[in-house]
Amino acid sequence: MKISIGEHFKLPLMGKDVFIKLTREVGLKYDSKEGFMITPKTRLDILVPLLREALKEDVSFVLKCFICGKTTPCETCVYNAVCDRKSVSPACICDFCMVKKDAFPLYTEKFTEVSE
C-alpha cells in the first residue's frame, strides 16, 4: 500500500481495536467521509508495522510532485533518511522534474498557475 503524505487515504475495515490504535496511539487524523490522514503528530514508526501486520502487505510513503502531479516514492529518494515526512509540507519534486535544467522556473510557473 502506498500512502500519500498530505492526502487522505482509506483503509479496509480492520476492527475496533486497530482503529483505536491508529487514531489514539499512532496519531492518524480521521474523517468519516475522507478517511485517514498523516499529521505532524503521527508516529510513523508505529504506523508502518501496524499496517503491515493488519493488511498483510508492504506499506510505503509517497509525496506528490508539485510540478507534474505524479507521486514520487520516498524509498528511492537520496534524502529518505533525513526527511521527516510527517513534518514537512506535503508537495515534493519527482526525479524526472528535478533533473530538468529549468526545474525552479517550472516550479514557480506552476505555483503562479495554481494561484490564478
Binding site: Y79, V82, S87, V88, S89, A91, F111
Partner: protein
C-alpha cells in the same frame, strides 16, 4: 549575504508550503473590515515572514511591522499601533504585521494578550500575526479566533531545488555530495541552507553527506570535543552548530570545559574573553528581544574560541566545579549549613543569606581576631565547625595578601 540578495521578490519565488501560501494570498485578497485576523505558525526559516511581505507587495499593501517581542505590554502596543488600528483613512492600504507574536505572551505578559485579542476584533486594517510555537496555550487561543495558516518544514528536495536556482543565478557549481550535505543539514530551514550554501561555495565550509548524518547523531559531548579539537574555524563552527543545545547551555559547557582544563593563563584569559563576549550577546538579545541576532552567536563563539585555544588541549566537561573543590564542598557542606543556621539567627538574617553574603567576612574577621577560636567556643560552637570556619578565614586572608 545571499539570504538578503535572494530574499523572495514574489510569492511564487518561495518554495514549500504551497497550500498555506495560497491560503494566505486568498485570505488577504478577500479581507474586508471586520474580517478575521491571520495567524501564520510554524518553525523558523521556512518563509512565513517572506510570505507576508511577498503577498503584501503583490496586492500593493504597505506593512506596519512590529516585532511583538519588543512590545510586551498593553500600553506599549497601544502606543505603537493605536492610530493605525482605528483610522484606515490615515494610513491608506496597509496591513499590521505582528512578528514573533509568541514573544508577547511570555511570563511578563502585562496585558499584551488582551490587547491583541481586542485588536483582532476591532482593527480596521488586516492584522497578520506570526508565531513559531504552535503548542503555546495563548497561541492556540489566538488560532481559535484567527484564520490560521500552518507552515511546515520544507522537504529536502525542494530545498535543493531552491539552492540550485540560486547557484544557477550566481553561475556557480557545487558537487552533488556537498549539495546533499547542505540540504540534509538544513533540516528544512531554507535560510540556514542558503547560508551554508554560500559558505560551501566560497570554500569556507567543507561537509560531506555521510558525515553530516553522523554528526547529527553525535552526542553533545562529541560535538563539544570536536569543537575543542577542530583544526580549522569551519570545523569548529560545524561542531558547535551540531550541538543541539540552547545558547546559554553552550556558553556554560564551554566555560566549564575551559576552567577545568589545564590551560595556561594567557590562553585561558583569551578563551574566557570570548565566552564573556558571547554571553554579552545573549544578554543583549534577551534585553532587546532581537532574536535574529542569534544567527551570529555560533559563528562568534566558535571562531573566537578556535583562535583563543589554538594548539591547546581542552577536554569536554559539563561540570564547572573542579574535583578538589567539589570534594571539599561535600565534606564541609554540613558544617557550613550549621554555621549558617547558628550565625544567621544571631545576625537576624536567613541561613542562606548568611552563607552567601556574610560568611566570608565573618570567617575573615574571626580568624584575624585575637582568641577568635576561644570566643567561638564560649558561644557554644562545636570544635569541628570552628575548625572549618577558621580554615576558611585563613584561606581568604591568604588570598587577600
Amino acid at each position: 549575504m545571499w539570504t538578503e540578495k535572494y530574499r523572495p521578490s514574489s510569492l511564487a519565488m518561495l518554495v514549500g508550503n504551497e497550500e498555506a501560501r495560497l491560503g494566505f494570498l486568498k485570505w488577504l485578497k478577500a479581507w474586508k473590515v471586520g474580517g478575521k485576523a491571520a495567524l501564520l505558525v510554524g518553525p523558523p526559516g521556512i518563509g512565513k515572514t517572506a510570505t507576508v511581505h511577498a503577498v503584501a507587495r503583490e496586492l500593493s499593501y504597505s506593512i506596519i511591522e512590529l516585532n511583538a517581542s519588543d512590545i510586551r505590554t498593553k500600553d506599549k502596543l497601544d502606543r505603537a499601533l493605536g492610530p493605525s488600528v482605528y483610522n484606515q483613512a490615515l494610513i491608506g492600504k496597509s496591513l499590521i504585521l505582528l512578528d514573533e507574536v509568541d514573544g508577547i505572551f511570555g511570563r511578563a505578559d502585562y496585558g499584551g494578550m488582551d490587547f491583541v485579542m481586542e485588536l483582532m476584533e476591532n482593527t480596521s486594517v488586516p492584522l497578520v500575526m506570526i508565531a513559531n510555537a504552535q503548542d503555546n496555550i495563548k497561541i492556540k487561543k489566538i488560532a481559535h479566533k484567527a484564520e490560521t495558516f500552518r507552515f511546515q518544514r520544507i522537504p529536502p528536495r525542494l530545498v535543493e531545488l531552491y539552492l540550485r536556482g540560486i547557484l544557477a543565478k550566481e553561475g556557480k557549481q557545487l558537487d552533488e555530495k556537498t549539495m546533499q550535505a547542505v540540504v540534509a543539514q538544513s533540516k528544512g530551514d531554507v535560510r540556514s541552507a542558503i547560508n551554508d550554501l554560500q559558505a560551501a561555495v566560497l570554500g569556507q565550509l567543507k561537509i560531506e553527506f555521510e558525515s553530516s548524518e553522523r554528526d547529527r547523531s553525535a552526542t553533545i559531548s562529541q560535538s563539544f570535543q570536536q569543537l575543542f579539537d577542530a583544526s580549522n574555524p569551519a570545523d569548529a563552527l560545524m561542531a558547535l552548530s551540531s550541538a543541539e543545545m540552547d545558547p546559554k547551555g553552550k556558553i556554560e559547557t564551554v566555560f566549564s570545559s575551559l576552567v577545568t582544563s589545564s590551560l595556561d593563563v594567557e590562553h585561558l584569559s583569551n578563551a574566557l574573553d570570548t565566552v564573556s563576549r558571547a554571553d554579552q550577546i545573549i544578554g543583549r538579545i534577551q534585553r532587546t528581544q532581537e532574536w535574529r541576532q542569534l544567527r551570529y552567536f555560533d559563528v562568534m563563539l566558535a571562531m573566537g574560541l578556535f583562535y583563543a585555544i589554538k594548539g591547546c588541549k581542552v577536554q569536554f566537561n559539563d561540570d564547572a566545579i573542579p574535583w578538589d573543590l567539589k570534594l571539599r564542598l561535600w565534606n564541609e557542606a554540613k558544617y557550613f549549613a550549621q554555621i549558617g543556621r547558628t550565625f544567621g539567627s544571631m545576625f537576624g538574617t536567613s541561613r542562606k543569606q548568611f552563607s552567601a553574603v556574610f560568611l566570608p567576612y565573618f570567617a575573615m574577621i574571626i580568624t584575624a581576631t585575637k582568641d577568635g577560636d576561644q570566643k567561638l567556643e564560649r558561644i557554644g560552637i562545636d570544635e569541628s565547625v570552628r575548625k572549618v570556619l577558621l580554615k576558611e578565614g585563613k584561606k581568604i586572608l591568604e588570598a587577600l595578601k
